[in-house]
């Protein structure tokens, strides 16, 4: 019996990023990008548990601070109303794009609104309530090429569906790609299927229009 295995995830977040994630200090957009990677990567998922254990150990070894006398009583009273209310209601996913993505993505966005940036590249911005990083989904159509571009701030791309390649190699589902300012590349989706990526882009300091900003990480113009 053959079991089809997906290619092993090759690119992982660095140790300090995983540590920040487990400690709860990552900005929401970066947090989502790490969660997306963990969805595909068993190894990093196990590391995250190990890093959370550090948190558990620090919690257990901290000096306890006395709670008020009636705290437990108050909490017990409120439990009655909280009883089963938190059982997750599963809302069926109807959006075709969302069906291709890890299920947790539907916590973040229900219905991505893709807009064309070029003939083969679309973007859907994901509002997440922060201004340091912008979160978006990028979709490259099958075999689609994107213009050469550079990177102005930190950019993280996680492949959620399909694959794409550039001069440095091919990136598959789960790969966590970090680009620093100055990196130049020109991604191309694989021939047979479209590619959907999650991207986190450090909000640029220099003034460019919102559309131009969202063109990253797959292309950018220099509007000088």
């Amino acid at each position: 019996m053959t079991v089809q295995l997906r290619p092993e995830v090759q690119l992982h977040p660095e140790a300090d990023l995983l540590l920040d994630y487990a400690a709860g200090s990552l900005s929401p957009a970066l947090c989502v990008s790490v969660t997306a990677h963990l969805h595909f990567c068993d190894k990093c998922r196990a590391q995250d548990i190990a890093l959370s254990e550090i948190g558990g150990d620090l919690l257990s070894s901290v000096g306890p601070e006395k709670m008020p006398e009636n705290a437990l009583e108050k909490v017990l009273l409120s439990l009655n109303s909280a009883e089963i209310s938190d059982q997750a209601e599963t809302i069926p996913i109807i959006n075709e794009d969302m069906k291709k993505l890890p299920a947790f993505m539907s916590n973040i966005i229900a219905e991505p609104q893709f807009n064309f940036l070029t003939r083969s590249l679309k973007v859907a911005k994901i509002p997440i309530g922060e201004n340091k990083y912008e979160l978006a989904l990028h979709k490259i159509s099958a075999g689609g090429k994107t213009p050469k571009h550079d990177h102005r701030g930190l950019e993280v791309t996680v492949v959620l569906y399909g694959s794409f390649s550039d001069l440095d190699g091919t990136y598959n589902e789960g790969d966590f790609i970090i680009r620093e300012p100055g990196d130049v590349h020109s991604p191309v989706a694989t021939i047979d299927d479209e590619c959907i990526c999650l991207s986190v882009v450090e909000a640029p300091i220099r003034l460019v229009g919102p559309i131009l900003r969202m063109i990253n990480p797959f292309l950018s113009f220099s509007p000088v």
Partner: protein, 195 residues
């Protein structure tokens, strides 16, 4: 009451499992008595929490523990680790509320506690909890300082670098050395630690 950290079925995890399976309020009360003061203490170690906010958050976290206990799996993590992640998420939500972020997203949405893929379970087995704890104790002071600051205060390693007036590279290498010492083998460490 001290849990037997050395056994794979520690006492707190058993109580938490009881809460999850049969909504056992007696078990919950015991967990509350142990963990609520710890959560409060943990939060107060990191600014900016005064005792009132820390108490409020500790109660909020314990209510979440009650609600979510059904998803606790003692084969995968210990009660203290699981409760830590709940408290951590409460703290993140508190920061978002303080920043008056309108976007209605909870930390647990960002972290995805649900295991969507049952195949993952085979790889993720509970580690020996004592290893991490013992190793935390043998870390050199400067490594321990960085690690505890990140966890207690919920700051990123670059924020910690700034606060301690250390170059980012120094903080990064302290983290790597600490993780190595604690025997936490990270995928990215093997490739990057040399650079």
């Amino acid at each position: 009451m001290t849990p037997l950290v050395n056994s794979s079925r520690d006492e707190w995890s058993e109580l938490l499992t009881k809460v999850g399976n049969v909504q056992d309020k007696e078990a919950f009360s015991q967990l509350f008595g142990h963990f609520a003061p710890l959560i409060k203490g943990f939060l107060m170690k990191g600014a900016p929490f005064g005792y009132e906010q820390a108490e409020e958050l500790a109660q909020e976290a314990m209510i979440k523990v009650w609600r979510k206990a059904g998803s606790f799996d003692e084969k995968k993590s210990s009660a203290s680790t699981w409760i830590y992640t709940i408290a951590r998420n409460c703290r993140i939500d508190w920061f978002r509320r303080e920043a008056r972020i309108k976007k209605d997203l909870k930390a647990e949405d960002l972290y995805d506690l649900v295991d969507e893929n049952p195949a993952h379970s085979s790889l993720i087995q509970k580690r020996n909890q004592t290893t991490v704890r013992e190793n935390l104790q043998v870390l050199p002071v400067e490594q321990l300082e960085v690690i505890t600051k990140i966890y207690y205060e919920g700051k990123t390693h670059s924020e910690v670098a700034e606060e301690l007036a250390l170059p980012l590279g120094t903080v990064k290498s302290r983290i790597r050395l600490a993780l190595k010492k604690m025997n936490i083998q990270l995928e990215s460490l093997d490739v990057r630690v040399e650079s």
